[in-house]
Amino acid sequence: MIALTAISRIFTMGDQEVRALNNINLTIAPGAYVSVMGPSGSGKSTLLNLIGLLDQPTSGTYLLENIDVTSLSETDQARVRRERIGFIFQSFHLIPRLTAAENIELPLILDGIPSAERKKRVRAILQQTNLLERADHRPSELSGGQRQRVAIARATILNPAVLLADEPTGNLDHKTGAEVIALLENLHHQGTTIITVTHDREIGARAHRKIQMRDGEVVSDD
């Protein structure tokens, strides 16, 4: 489903070139559960941003569901991000002035779905993620675990093909971290492809496919 061929990403800082990704070749099958690990600066976040179309490779080709997405227009890339990709971040990135339900509703609004349909879908996902009684609370009134569950609900409400998680448990204690991972694994069982970037060995080990990165290269993949 994801096919990266000879992908490089080079940043220029002053007159210095930094190779964040160096000639990466990677194929990820539909429904896979992948963890990406490695020290800071190994290029794992850059890889995730690239797969999520937030960043463009300097060279190489990227096929997502057999479409060369790097050559798409900005508007089409936004549509792919909206409909095929879900993002989860370490710091949740909820919009503070919107309630939990409204945060979850945002992708539906961007997709132009009518209001009545939106309310129905948001309610359904709130029920699934056990957040119904917190629906009208703002992020500041939610616990860390609840915030990340809201973020996951927002990332999955349009049924994306791939869910990208960047240190999803980084800001959570062990117990709520485990709950969030359980929620992600539940989504994996329903057929969503999951790619998790993490420092946490325990969480990384739970994935079916573990990728190790160092200095912008894949050093192990099993």
């Binding site: 508007t75 936004a78 549509r79 002035r97 992708p107 961007l110």
Partner: protein, 400 residues
């Protein structure tokens, strides 16, 4: 994103930053209100002057002895030289001219007035009964029937003069002395206050022939003519000029001013003044626009992660730009509405404080103020909005 969603989402954002919204709104509103109030003031001043002029009488033609090269200019006409007198016979010759409804010869001077041991100085006008009709003067008591003469020695007193000389209020029919001549009080002016520098409350009017004798002159100060209608003012001026030229041995030695010409000049000056004043007010709107731009730029950098997130969940450049444009549009619209309300209240306050000043804001100025507010608001948000749209999502999201 549908248009309706964009509107409601941006509206919610505006409302949630309350203090910021109120401050921008206030800046916009004050700019709009300044334009409205200042144009109302300018317009009010213009109408005030116009009203004063029409209070002088309508369809007025004024004949002044002497000819100045700066025809039409009031001041120039006053300092014009006088090669030949304008006489009572000249005035009488106007009677039969087409377009002339009525005319009044006029002599003005200072004189002492005394009655019953009281004495003061007054402005003395000598004319005929037509002057009262032409100048829209009103008599409270008695009558004034003088024609070109000879007339009985009768005088009309201003209300204040009458009260000063005859505090008991029995002025009518009494004897007064003007200079070395005796007059009978035949009428008293109604209280009218001052209009264009002539205060009928302190004026004494006597027949023209007596005034000429009193001042020992054959020359008229001027002749006031009322034309039959506004449209015949110009032809009547021509006819009068030709008639007087014939009487003055073919020499054109009088200045003839139509009231409409003076009106038009004042109208032009005051309109220019209104425009200038509202232009200055519009500068405050431009300043408000710069403030809006600054605040929106701050908003973009404050909400960097939010913008990054919106991109991550699939917002297009256009979506993000529209959200920020709409945010300012809401503020500009609200500012314009509040500004119009403030402006109209301000104008109302002006009218209450100065009842003589018809300070009604003209419609065109209100529309121009609203349009300027909207255009400035949108123009000021283009830069911040496109900056937000172009933000790199990776960098935006990496800021914690």
């Amino acid at each position: 994103m549908t248009r309706q969603d964009a509107f409601s989402l941006s509206f919610r954002t505006v409302v949630s930053y309350r203090l910021r919204a109120i401050l921008i709104l206030l800046a916009m509103a004050l700019g709009v209100a300044a334009v409205v109030v200042l144009t109302a003031l300018g317009e009010g001043a213009r109408r005030f002057v116009m009203n004063q002029f029409t209070a002088l009488g309508t369809n007025l033609i004024i004949i002044i002895p002497g000819r100045s090269e700066t025809a039409g200019g009031f001041i120039g006409a006053l300092v014009g030289e006088t090669p030949r007198d304008l006489t009572l016979d000249d005035a009488a010759s106007l009677t039969a001219l087409p377009g002339v409804r009525r005319f009044a010869p006029l002599n003005v001077g200072l004189s002492e007035i005394s009655a019953g041991g009281l004495l003061r100085e007054v402005t003395l006008a000598g004319s005929t009964a037509s002057l009262i009709a032409i100048r829209r003067m009103r008599l409270a008591q008695g009558s004034f029937t003088a024609d070109n003469g000879p007339n009985p020695a009768e005088a009309v007193l201003g209300a204040k003069i009458a009260h000063e000389l005859f505090p008991k209020g029995n002025a009518l029919g009494q004897r007064i002395r003007l200079g070395d001549r005796r007059f009978r009080v035949a009428g008293i002016f109604a209280m009218q206050g001052e209009s264009m520098g002539i205060n009928t409350d302190e004026l004494v009017l006597i027949p023209i022939d007596h005034a000429q004798a009193l001042f020992n002159t054959q020359s008229l100060f001027r002749i006031m003519v009322e034309a039959e209608s506004r449209s015949v003012i110009e032809p009547t001026k021509k006819v009068i000029r030709a008639a007087l030229k014939l009487r003055h041995d073919g020499e054109e030695d009088v200045t003839i001013i139509g009231q409409d010409a003076i009106l038009a000049t004042f109208d032009k000056i005051l309109r220019a003044l209104t425009l200038a004043v509202s232009g200055i007010a519009a500068i405050s709107l431009a300043v408000a626009g710069i403030l809006v731009m600054n605040v929106m730029l701050v908003a973009v950098s404050q909400r960097t992660t939010e913008i990054g997130l919106l991109k991550a969940i699939g917002a297009t450049h256009t979506d993000i730009r529209n959200l920020f444009l709409l945010e300012t549009l809401w503020l500009a619209v609200a500012g314009a509405v509040v500004g119009i309300i403030l402006g109209y209240l301000g104008s109302l306050g002006l009218r209450l404080a100065y009842p003589q000043l018809p300070a009604y804001p003209p419609i065109w100025a209100s529309l121009a103020a609203i349009a300027t507010a909207l255009i400035t608001g949108i123009a000021a948000s283009i830069l911040p909005a496109s900056k937000a749209a172009r933000l790199n999502p990776v960098l935006a999201l990496s800021r914690r």
